[in-house]
Symmetry: C4
Subunit: 130 residues, 4 copies
């Protein structure tokens, strides 16, 4: 059994179905349609994260930089990223997540375009370290 | 082909998108919004489980202790854990699951904040044993 | 790049969050609430499948036996299994899938207890062959 | 930490629960029921993709050929494939995705047969290269 404080996961993760629905039903911000990456840094060292956003018809956007403290959860809506630039809504994208230390990443979308929200999630694809 | 009674899975698993929706629509407890970890102990030895809950702005909660008998399924709503303390609702978290023997873990959320329930699931992230 | 006819996947797979919702909204059988295992036998040899159903408070049920032809898809609703006995509805379970040849398995639930259906899916957990 | 431009993923991926719902609610094409494979080619070389569609009662369809540019996202609705032939709707299938270079693949369905859409997603099953 591994011990608390041990780093867990991988340093590169991929989300292939990125999409921010353009409309929403219900109270903001809870029911605003959103696409999120949820990350755990279980280790005892802060994680420096870089996200790159891949598009269908243009070069990748980014890096978007985040920091996650030691032993901390961090859930980031793609909707809320704006540095170096906002991620276009209603647009297909993919995301590569790179971290200075091992993390775990999960992709979740809440889609409230219609009257009741749809939800989807998957653990992202971990890339083995070499 | 492996045989019944063989331990299956890993001893450490991670859920990165933990969240208990704060409201519900429909009859309790079936349609109460909930976040769950569903586990299988396929082996012939009981499993002693420890959950740690990681938060955005504070040190991890836990351990929450569970026991799963040999050859048994166990589905646990995070909503129902209260020892050593309840998990805060409407709050982002991550969960690390550690077991004394190999298990398999799957994460599922039912969100009934709006009129029809949304559902999401993923096999949790297994951490290889060293 | 692998070639068509090559066996793909693993011979043991696990679903940890098994559950057949007890009620449904909408026309049968399409919108009947169901829990399914969807399998691919991509190889050139028929697959003999055995499912075991693990419960919270009793010994496992099964084996449930299925056969999947070479180069065939097979989507099985757990609701429809009745040999050696039906799987109880509104009851937590886990499922271990064992195959004579490598397959790929995915778990999907359609839950139409409320007015619009919820959907969830995950690739099942593959157990490496030794 | 891996570098941008590095190929990421695997050259063979599997989706086991393929299904195109036959009806839809809401404005086309956004809310049209669809089944999709979302792919990332993170490398610096174009990817040549072949999809084979496996059925329950007939030999596989395909190959369906796609090309994904270097450093590009590509989300493909199965509904929109028609060469060499359309994929039958309201029919169970599985899909094997093969690429000339490593990619990452994710499976997503939007089901709007009922009044509010259901959503499901999973990273597809990667087949290790030998």
């Amino acid at each position: 059994m591994s011990q608390p404080g041990t780093p867990i996961g991988a340093t590169t993760w991929v989300i292939a179905d990125g999409y921010i629905p353009p409309t929403s039903t219900g109270p903001e911000p809870a029911m605003t349609s959103h696409d999120s990456v949820c990350m755990l840094n279980a280790g005892d060292v802060d994680a420096n994260i870089e996200l790159h956003i891949y598009l269908t018809d243009a070069e990748p956007l980014g890096p978007y930089r985040l920091q996650i403290g030691a032993r901390r959860a961090f859930h980031q809506r793609f909707n809320d990223l704006d540095d170096p630039e906002p991620i276009p809504i209603d647009t297909d994208y993919c995301c590569v997540i790179r971290s200075s230390v091992p993390i775990v990443a999960q992709h979740t979308r809440l889609d409230s375009r219609q009257a009741a929200n749809g939800l989807m999630t998957t653990i992202a694809h971990p890339v083995p370290d070499h």
